[in-house]
């Protein structure tokens, strides 16, 4: 049994003039110690997916249907009280903006001790000791001094380290990291990503990394999901997808990277932009931007087909697979 299993999750936003569907039935699983990348551009629904897992999706958003099974128990059906025992304790979250987690008027130490005491019956002294070891673990210089500092006294990179220390505080099974390094500089980003990877490997913690940066995904994760307009359009082993993407959108995303182009030449570009939730196209949501779109694509949402170890939702890919099969039959 996988550690976390999401089945056909649908999330909506209640707005004027009806509901907008942000997640249109996504399914994936996460094993113990596995590192999963969730890739997509803004508006794809990747952050909504992350927030939905802990039922943290903010109003007017809500989970409309689907299951989120954590060790076999459905988080979507759990009461707020039960959820609180899991949040921060069994599943920890790291946000893009450290100040979403850190309270600016409390010292780092106070906040860490508070988090520990909320889930465990221990003395303040013991909690402080645990906090100190976690700060050491994230390689913060002079950790004992940091405990008595306020968040604003730390630099951006240092703050994100503290956030990771807080996430590790209760030895969670899963860390969900939502764009943890987007606000940071490249050199700091590299340090934080390396640290996160190291810590997850050390303690066999599962990591769900939400990012728009394909480079980071390929460095850190083992499997990846590509999201487009509230759907997972491709999922499988990271290396396989990066090296040989199946879905035209994933291909376009990779080919549009400047590192893929010849210097001075035009970059590959996907025309148009991600549809807004208000007017999602019928059929495959990518079809207005897709070079391979046929009549079928404009009417029906493609089912997943397997190509190698990768699941893809695309008629073009399924047609190619069919063709290959037929060719093989003819040959044999």
């Amino acid at each position: 049994m996988p550690l976390l299993e999401v089945n056909d999750l649908v999330a909506r936003f209640a707005v004027r003039g009806g509901d907008l569907t942000a997640l249109r039935g996504i399914s994936f699983s996460l094993d113990k110690g596995e590192r999963l990348g969730l890739v997509g551009e803004s508006g794809a629904g990747k952050s909504v997916a992350a927030f939905s897992i802990l039922n943290l999706i903010a109003r007017p958003g809500f989970i409309a249907s689907g299951q989120i099974l954590f060790e076999g128990k459905d988080l979507a059906a759990m009461s707020e009280r039960e959820l609180r025992k899991i949040r921060g304790n069994r599943i920890a979250m790291i946000f893009q903006d450290p100040m979403m987690t850190l309270n600016p008027v409390l010292t780092i130490g106070t906040q860490m001790v508070e988090a520990l005491k909320a889930h465990r019956r221990i003395s303040t002294r013991a909690a402080r000791d645990i906090a100190l070891t976690k700060l050491r673990k994230v390689q913060i210089p002079s950790p004992d001094k940091r405990l008595d500092q306020y968040p604003h006294e730390l630099s951006g990179g240092m703050r994100q380290r503290v956030i990771i220390a807080i996430a590790l505080l209760l030895d969670p099974e899963i860390i969900i990291a939502d764009e943890p390094t987007t606000a940071l500089d490249v050199t700091i980003q590299a340090e934080i990503m390396a640290l996160l990877l190291e810590l997850c490997e050390q303690d066999n913690v599962a990591l769900m990394l939400i990012t728009h940066d394909l480079g980071v995904v390929s460095q850190v994760t083992q499997r990846m999901l590509v999201m487009y307009s509230g759907r997972i359009i491709e999922q499988g082993p990271t290396r396989e997808i990066i090296n040989d993407a199946q879905h035209p959108y994933t291909q376009g995303l990779i080919n549009a990277l400047p590192q893929m182009g010849e210097p001075g030449e035009r970059l590959f570009q996907i025309p148009g932009s991600m549809p807004s939730l208000k007017n999602v196209p019928t059929g495959c949501p990518f079809h207005p931007r897709c070079a391979f779109a046929t009549d079928q694509c404009t009417r029906l949402m493609p089912e997943y087909v397997r190509s190698g170890n990768v699941d893809v939702a695309c008629y073009e890919v399924s047609n190619l697979i069919e063709q290959e099969k037929r060719m093989q039959e003819v040959e044999s």
Partner: protein, 339 residues
């Protein structure tokens, strides 16, 4: 490589300080029984010399706080330099005011980072694009203005029929196209682009970069391109200047810089870009953090994080020196052949 006649924009010894200490009253503090007067300033740029050649795209790269945006804003006259000079086509422009500067406002334009803030929310696209044309060509007739607006909208790939819409009705990528159209509307020669694609999605970044390259070819534009994204630079730039704490630490042809980075900071920066072919992060680890630009380190600004720093680096400020590879590097270790 460069002849002086082809220099379009010449930045000489540029310095910019931002005063932090406020009025006289706020500067005075009472400590240990005595009054102290303390003046603090952010040293955003500390002596930058750069020449932008006609027709090239000079990229300025660096991390936040390195002063790259301040260079852009100072060149455009949005900030006045604390010291140094800016010359455009042989004419000093940083001390011009009022009417004298107007012709340069037409020749030099700027594209901004945030497409959500760079269009006036209360103006339609038509109004946004008409205003600069009307302002700089007071003799133009209404139909000439309308034609011109239609031309620039078409050239950036925005349907001219959408002119009566407001900025918020467009996506981020479309807004950035409109912002580019506004800059192009006055037929500039030189465009400063301050992180023009960093607020955009990956697939949209490619569209905007392509558009800027097209405009460069068809209009013979010169760019000063400010970015933190080295991958973009490799694709877009003719030459690259790497900045750290308000100083240029390396200046080279794009190809030279990416194949043989000389300055230790450039090397670290290059290694930190996450690449598709990597299976693990494999960056050069730097010690410590970027110092604040309020209290600049003595000597080489990078010495606190540099693995090759020695006593000379801690005391003497290195100058840009041409190396045999064609790059200009400000590093004592490179100069002495230690690196």
């Amino acid at each position: 490589m460069t002849s002086p006649s082809s220099t379009l924009v010449d930045i000489r010894g540029l310095e910019k300080k931002f005063d932090l200490s406020g009025g006289l009253l706020e500067q005075i503090s009472f400590k240990g029984g005595r009054f102290h007067r303390k003046q603090e300033a952010v040293h955003a740029i500390n002596g930058v010399d750069l020449q932008v050649q006609k027709g090239e795209a000079l990229c300025v790269v660096g991390e936040s706080g390195c002063g790259k945006s301040t260079v852009a804003r100072t060149v455009m006259g949005l900030l006045s330099p604390s010291a140094g000079e800016i010359h455009y086509d042989g004419q000093r422009i940083d001390h011009l005011d009022g009417k004298e500067v107007l012709p340069y406002r037409r020749k030099m334009q700027m594209i901004f980072q945030n497409p959500y803030a760079s269009l006036n929310p209360r103006m339609t696209i038509q109004q946004t694009l008409e205003e600069p044309i009307r302002f700089h060509q007071p003799d133009a007739t209404e139909s000439q203005i309308r034609d011109k607006v239609q031309d620039v909208m078409e050239s950036v790939g925005i349907d001219p029929d959408w002119g009566s819409r407001f900025g918020h009705e467009f996506s981020g990528g479309q807004r950035q196209r409109i912002a580019i159209a506004r800059a192009l509307a006055v037929d500039p020669e030189f465009i400063v682009a301050d992180e023009p694609i960093s607020a955009l999605d990956v697939s949209i970044q490619a569209q905007v970069l392509n558009l800027m390259m097209e405009a460069q070819e068809s209009r013979n534009l010169t760019y000063l391109f400010i970015t933190h994204d080295l991958a973009v630079v490799e694709h877009f730039g003719t030459r690259v200047a790497v900045m750290y704490l308000g100083r240029v630490c390396e200046l080279a042809d794009t190809r030279t810089l990416f194949s043989t980075p000389r300055h230790p900071y450039t090397q670290a920066l290059l290694s930190a870009i996450p690449k598709l072919e990597d299976d693990r992060p494999n960056h050069i680890r730097l010690q410590g953090e970027v110092p604040t630009p309020v209290e600049l380190p003595s000597g080489c600004v990078f010495h606190g994080r540099c693995p090759y720093a020695d006593d000379r680096c801690r005391q003497q400020i290195p100058q840009l020196i041409a190396t045999d590879g064609g790059a200009q590097v400000a590093c004592h270790a490179v100069e002495e052949g230690r690196l």
